[in-house]
C-alpha cells in the first residue's frame, strides 16, 4: 500500500517581483537591439535628406561620381562632381597608410615579441593616451606645427597639403593598428613560437617566418580598421589639407576630402536646398565606403578565429 506523498512545499515569488523581472528583461531586449535600430536610423535619416536630389535636373549620378567640377554655389552653371574629393580622400588615406602600416606593424611586433612585460605595459598606456588626443587638436597641430615644418623642410608653397594631413592621419591611426595588430600576434598559439625556437630560429626568424603568416588575417583587420579611421576622419583633414578642390599631382599639393567638404559647407547652406541635399548624398557615399571597409575588417577577424 502506497503512503500518500507529502505535498511539495512551493515557494512562490510575489507577482510584482516576477512582473518587475519581466519588465527589466524587456528593457534589456530593447537596448540590445538598439544598435540595429540606430544603424537603420542613420541610413534612413541621412538618405531621407539626400533622396530628393535624385529628381533634380542639375544632378546626375554619373556626373556626381566621375566629374571633378564642384561648383555648388554657381548661379548659372551648377556642378556637383565629387571625383576630386574622392581622389583627395584616397590620396591622403593611401599616403597615411604607407606611413602608418610599417610603423604600426613594427610596433605591434615589438610590443608582442621583443620588449619586457613591464616596458610593454608602459608603452601600451602611452599608446592609449596617444589614441585619446582629440582630432581637433591634431588638426590644430597640423595647422601650426606641421605647417611650419613642411614649409621649412621642403620649401613648400603651402604647408597645408596631402603630406601634412597624411602625417596626422598616420599618427591618429597608429594606436588602432598597434593594439589590434598586437592582439592578432598574441592570438597565435605559443606552441607555434616554441616549435620555431626549438628548430633553432632566432626570435626575428620566428616572427618573420612563423608569426606573420599565422597572424596574417588579424594584421589585415588591423590595417583595415586603420583605413576606416583615416577615411572617416573629419576635423584633422579639414584643418590640414588646405581645402582646394583639385586632383593632387604631388605630395605637397592642397586637396579636399569628402568629410572635410561636408564639415566646411554644411554650416553655410540653407536647409532643403540642392546643395544641402548633395552634401547629404556625400554622407551616404561615405557611409557606404566605411560600411564596406568595416565589414571587410570584421570578415578578416572572423577568418582568423576560424
Amino acid at each position: 500500500m502506497n503512503a500518500p506523498l507529502p505535498r511539495p512545499i512551493v515557494f512562490r515569488r510575489p507577482w510584482y517581483s516576477v512582473a518587475l523581472e519581466r519588465a527589466i528583461e524587456a528593457l534589456i531586449m530593447v537596448c540590445g537591439i538598439s544598435a540595429v535600430i540606430l544603424v537603420g536610423g542613420i541610413f534612413f535619416f541621412v538618405f531621407r535628406e539626400a533622396f530628393p536630389i535624385l529628381a533634380s535636373p542639375n544632378f546626375g549620378l554619373g556626373e556626381f561620381l566621375f566629374s571633378i567640377e564642384w561648383y555648388p554655389t554657381s548661379v548659372r552653371d551648377v556642378r556637383y562632381g565629387v571625383l576630386a574629393m574622392i581622389v583627395g580622400t584616397l590620396a591622403v588615406t593611401t599616403l597615411a597608410m604607407a606611413i602608418a602600416v610599417p610603423f604600426g606593424i613594427g610596433g605591434a611586433i615589438y610590443l608582442s615579441e621583443f620588449c619586457t612585460p613591464k616596458l610593454r605595459e608602459t608603452l601600451k598606456v602611452v599608446i592609449e593616451l596617444l589614441a585619446a588626443i582629440p582630432s581637433v587638436v591634431w588638426g590644430f597641430i597640423g595647422l601650426t606645427v606641421v605647417n611650419d615644418l613642411l614649409i621649412t623642410l621642403f620649401d613648400a608653397a603651402v604647408g597645408l597639403n596631402v603630406l601634412n594631413a597624411a602625417l596626422l592621419l598616420a599618427l591618429m591611426s597608429l594606436p588602432i593598428i598597434v593594439s589590434i595588430g598586437e592582439d592578432a600576434l598574441k592570438a597565435v598559439p605559443d606552441s607555434y613560437r616554441e616549435a620555431g625556437v626549438a628548430l633553432g630560429a632566432t626570435r626575428w626568424q620566428m616572427v618573420y617566418r612563423v608569426l606573420l603568416p599565422a597572424a596574417r588575417n588579424g594584421l589585415l583587420a588591423a590595417v583595415l580598421l586603420g583605413v576606416g579611421r583615416a577615411v572617416g576622419e573629419t576635423m584633422a583633414v579639414l584643418m590640414a589639407t588646405g581645402h582646394a578642390v583639385q586632383i593632387p599631382t604631388g605630395l605637397l599639393e592642397p586637396v579636399r576630402t569628402l568629410t572635410a567638404n561636408i564639415a566646411s559647407e554644411m554650416g553655410e547652406v540653407s536647409q532643403g536646398s540642392e546643395h544641402y541635399r548633395v552634401l547629404f548624398t556625400i554622407g551616404v557615399l561615405l557611409f557606404g565606403i566605411t560600411f564596406l571597409v568595416n565589414l571587410a575588417a570584421d570578415l578578416a577577424v572572423r577568418g582568423r578565429r576560424r
Binding site: 523581472e21 528583461e25 534589456i28 531586449m29 537596448c31 540590445g32 537591439i33 538598439s34 544598435a35 540595429v36 540606430l38 544603424v39 536610423g41 542613420i42 535619416f45 541621412v46 535628406e49 613594427g106 610596433g107 611586433i109 615589438y110 621583443f114 608603452l123 602611452v126 599608446i127 592609449e128 593616451l129 596617444l130 585619446a132 588626443i133 582629440p134 582630432s135 581637433v136 587638436v137 588638426g139 590644430f140 597641430i141 595647422l143 601650426t144 599618427l171 632566432t202 626570435r203 626568424q205 616572427v207 572617416g232 573629419t234 576635423m235 584643418m239 568629410t259 561636408i262 564639415a263 554644411m266 547629404f280 561615405l286 557611409f287 566605411t290 560600411f291 568595416n294 565589414l295 570584421d298
Partner: protein
C-alpha cells in the same frame, strides 16, 4: 668547443638589427605624444592661469578665458553619458547574457561594429536630420548630446561586453544552481564582478566625447554664448552652447586676431582634460584589477 659558425653569427646579427629597428620604430610612435604635449604647454604657458579657465572670452574672443566652452562641454558629456551608459550597458548584458547564437544576434554584432566605424561627420548629418530637424529639438544641447550618445554607444557596448565575458561562467552556474533566475544572477553576481571593467570603459568614453568636434558642429555648438564668470548652470538643455573642442576650432580657423598663446592654451586645456580623465581610467583599472578575487 661550441664555436658559433658564420651562419649562426649572421642570424644573431640580424636578430640584433631587427630588435634595434623595432625598438626605434616603437619610439617613433611614442615620442610624438610627449613632443606634442611639451610644445602645446610651452606655447600656451603665457595665457594659462586659473582666471583663463574661469573667465568668459572678451574682445570678440581674442582675449579672456574659456569658461562658457568648458562648462558647455561638461553639459554635453554629462547628458550624452546619461543616455549612452545605461543603454550601452544593458545592450551588452543582452548580447552577453541572453542572446543565443542566431542570425539575429549576428546581425546585432555586425550593427555594433558598423556603428563604431561610421565617420563622425556622418553622425553629424544623422544628428542634424534626426534630432535637430525630424524630432524638432533644434540646435540644442539635447540634440548634440544625443548625437554624441549614438557615437559612444558601440564603444560602451564593446567594453562592457568584454568586462561581462571576463566573469567566469562558474560564478553564474553556482548562482543558477541555488535557484536564482537569469536576471537575479546578473544583478547579484555578474554586474558586481564586472563593475570595474564597465566603469573603465565608461570613463574612457567621457574623454572621447569631450574631444569630439564634428558631430556637434551643426547640432548644438555655437561660436559664442554670453556666460558669467564661473557660472555653473548657465545653459538650458534646449538651447545651444559653446564647447571646448569647437571653440578651439573656431579660434584656430574662424576668429582673426586671437594671439597664438590663447589658441595653444585652449588646446592645452582640452588635451590636459582628456588625458587626465584617461589616466584616471587607467589607474581605476589597475587598482580594481589588483583587487580582483579570481
Amino acid at each position: 668547443m661550441f664555436e658559433a659558425g658564420p651562419e649562426v653569427r649572421r642570424k644573431l646579427g640580424h636578430e640584433r638589427i631587427a630588435h634595434l629597428v623595432l625598438a626605434a620604430v616603437t619610439m617613433c610612435i611614442v615620442l610624438p605624444l610627449f613632443a606634442i604635449l611639451a610644445y602645446l604647454v610651452v606655447k600656451g604657458w603665457p595665457s594659462l592661469s586659473l582666471a583663463f579657465l574661469l573667465e568668459p572670452p572678451r574682445e570678440m574672443q581674442t582675449q579672456g578665458g574659456i569658461w562658457p566652452a568648458l562648462i558647455g562641454t561638461v553639459y554635453l558629456v554629462g547628458v550624452s553619458l546619461a543616455v549612452a551608459a545605461p543603454v550601452g550597458v544593458l545592450a551588452a548584458v543582452y548580447l552577453n547574457e541572453y542572446a543565443r547564437d542566431t542570425w539575429f544576434t549576428r546581425l546585432i554584432h555586425v550593427a555594433v561594429i558598423n556603428l563604431a566605424g561610421v565617420p563622425s561627420i556622418v553622425h553629424a548629418l544623422f544628428g542634424l536630420g534626426a534630432f535637430v530637424l525630424a524630432a524638432g529639438l533644434g540646435q540644442s544641447i539635447l540634440a548634440a548630446s544625443l548625437t554624441l550618445a549614438v557615437m559612444t554607444l558601440p564603444v560602451i557596448i564593446a567594453s562592457t561586453r568584454e568586462a561581462l565575458a571576463a566573469v567566469p561562467r562558474s560564478f553564474r552556474e553556482a548562482c543558477w544552481n541555488v535557484g536564482a533566475t537569469r536576471w537575479q544572477t546578473i544583478r547579484v553576481v555578474v554586474l558586481p564582478n564586472a563593475i570595474s571593467g564597465i566603469l573603465t570603459g565608461v570613463i574612457l568614453q567621457v574623454s572621447r566625447t569631450a574631444g569630439e568636434t564634428a558631430p556637434i558642429l551643426f547640432t548644438g555648438a555655437v561660436m559664442y554664448k554670453a556666460v558669467d564668470r564661473g557660472d555653473v548652470f548657465p545653459y538650458r538643455l534646449t538651447e545651444s552652447a559653446m564647447a571646448l573642442a569647437t571653440h578651439l576650432y573656431n579660434l584656430a580657423t574662424q576668429i582673426n586676431g586671437a594671439p597664438d598663446s590663447l589658441q595653444f592654451a585652449t588646446a592645452t586645456v582640452l588635451v590636459g582634460a582628456v588625458l587626465l580623465i584617461n589616466s584616471t581610467a587607467v589607474v581605476v583599472r589597475a587598482v580594481l584589477r589588483s583587487r580582483r578575487k579570481w
